[in-house]
């Protein structure tokens, strides 16, 4: 699997051939607080780059999760919908949100590297 890339909306993407895995970053979970509800997309749903793809709710508020990359969803992670709290524990591992078949690899290439993302978070603490 390729290295993780990051969006300004605090999602991460990793790529395995044509299939991308998308989740939210640890930084995002720290900002959200305790996650108590997750809605993931069903297989077959078409998502646009920066389009709304999933929902995450903490005790404080509901937030949309955007797809940093366009394509067709192949799988939503039902495990996190059943156990939303697991997103706080392992956001960048087992608690991915959805997988999708990508259309355009250049969208992936244009995302931030880990270093760039860390720097972005530091400069935009909120």
């Amino acid at each position: 699997m390729s290295e993780k890339k990051f969006s300004k909306k605090h999602e991460w993407v990793s790529l395995d051939g044509e299939v991308a895995t998308v989740g939210i970053t640890k930084h995002a979970t720290e900002m959200l607080g305790d996650i108590v509800f997750v809605e993931v997309p069903d297989a077959g749903k078409a998502v646009e780059k920066e389009g709304q793809a999933a929902v995450v709710e903490s005790t404080k508020a509901a937030s949309d999760v955007y797809s940093p990359i366009s394509g067709e969803v192949t799988e939503g992670n039902k495990a996190i919908a059943d156990d939303p709290g697991s997103v706080n524990t392992d956001p960048e591992g087992a608690s991915w949100f959805f997988k999708l078949k990508i259309k355009d690899k250049s969208e992936y290439d244009s995302l931030m590297s880990k270093d760039e993302y860390d720097k972005f978070c530091k400069e935009n603490p909120n």
């Binding site: 607080g33 108590v36 509800f37 709710e57 903490s58 005790t59 404080k60 509901a62």
Partner: protein
């Protein structure tokens, strides 16, 4: 208006508080542990809340003070004993709730705890009924600390002997660090606990002690999940000037004698509602799955007729499920009635539920 801070602002900062603007104050929404842990530690051990943004309004006067206050507050103030407290409201001419409050009889008069966002208007409304025989003071030199949770009594008794003898909704003066502080056994979390009125100068010392007794600081976030699980209303959300106590399912808070005799703002309207019932009524709501029905979520009947709206909704950490309150047409208010909740354009099932969602017995 400049944003205000409580005397404990820097203390909260050092405890790792995240602040939000609330009713004109910078208040902690949560600390390092986060809302769920704060909530659970309050239910299992004890937590403290800085509620100093709330108004501590003192009234003194001759025997006409009771008469004056009873025009706007539907409690039986005449028969309220010294050091006893009641949950009540300020009512407007339509019977709408201007604010909800706790009123305590003191030796010289009354103390009323008012919501922060409402306190200035409340004082204006109350003042209309006061005369030169009555004195009043919003005391900003006092902090107010709520200590809530099952261990509260054991912890506070060690510091302030005698508080364990207080019954729920009563209070008294106690000596602490060379000054008189006023402690009531009360709170807004569904737990046993106390509210401590103490000078801004001494409040840090009190908090030092609480922290040394492993009492966690609790922010507004967990205060909201705790009060909602306990089925308690939040003014500005579940209550407002257009909602009356009958609709709010709070008619128990109107004194029996006052229900018979009246003589308070909005009495004609409330009398009629007491006899005939209101069109809509506040209910508890339990969504079927994990979906959270937040404020303003529309409520539909099982056959798709819009019947009301959610006024508070969150995830209840002790119930381990989403919980909500809202107003529905009365014929749909029976416990167990199936409803639908429209969240992000989709309808999810739910049921009208008994309140509170979380039960605990108070010390009586």
């Amino acid at each position: 208006m400049e944003v205000q801070k409580t005397a404990l602002y820097n203390y909260h900062k050092n405890l790792g508080a995240k602040f939000v603007p609330f009713a004109g104050y910078e208040m902690p929404i949560q600390y390092k542990d986060g809302i769920v842990k704060e909530h659970i530690s309050t239910r299992k051990h004890a937590g403290f809340f800085d509620v100093s943004h709330m108004g501590q309004f003192f009234l003194e006067g001759d025997e006409t003070l009771v008469e004056a206050l009873e025009k706007i507050i539907p409690a039986d103030l005449k028969n309220l004993k010294i050091n006893h407290s009641k949950y009540s409201f300020l009512l407007n001419n339509e019977g709408g709730i201007i604010d909800d409050l706790i009123i305590t009889r003191t030796e010289k008069g009354f103390c009323i705890i008012l919501n922060a966002a409402c306190k200035e208007n409340d004082i204006k409304q109350i003042s209309q009924f006061l005369t030169k025989n009555h004195k009043h003071l919003l005391n900003n030199n006092l902090s107010l600390i709520a200590l809530q949770g099952p261990k509260s009594v054991e912890i506070l008794e060690k510091l302030i002997p005698g508080v364990a003898n207080l019954k729920f909704m009563t209070g008294n003066n106690f000596d602490y660090e060379g000054e008189k502080i006023y402690v009531t056994r009360s709170g807004y979390t569904g737990e046993d606990g106390f509210e401590i009125s103490i000078s801004n100068k001494k409040v840090e010392k009190l908090i030092d002690y609480l922290i040394s007794s492993e009492v966690k600081p609790i922010g507004l976030g967990a205060r909201d999940t705790l009060r909602l699980e306990a089925g308690l209303c939040l003014y500005g959300h579940d209550l407002n000037e257009k909602i009356n106590p009958v609709e709010a399912n709070l008619k128990w808070a109107i004194a029996k004698k006052r229900k018979e005799i009246g003589g308070f703002n909005g009495w004609e309207k409330i009398k009629n509602l007491l006899a005939n019932g209101s069109e809509k009524i506040r209910v508890g709501i339990k969504p079927d799955g994990k979906v959270i029905a937040r404020e303003n979520t529309k409520i539909f009947s099982s056959d798709n007729i819009e019947i009301g709206v959610v006024t508070s909704g969150t995830f209840g950490p002790s119930v381990n499920a989403p919980v909500a309150m809202g107003y529905v047409k009365r014929k749909f208010s029976e416990i167990g009635t199936s409803i639908q909740l429209e969240v992000r354009g989709k309808k999810y099932g739910g049921k009208i539920s008994d309140l509170p969602f979380y039960k605990k017995s108070y010390v009586k």
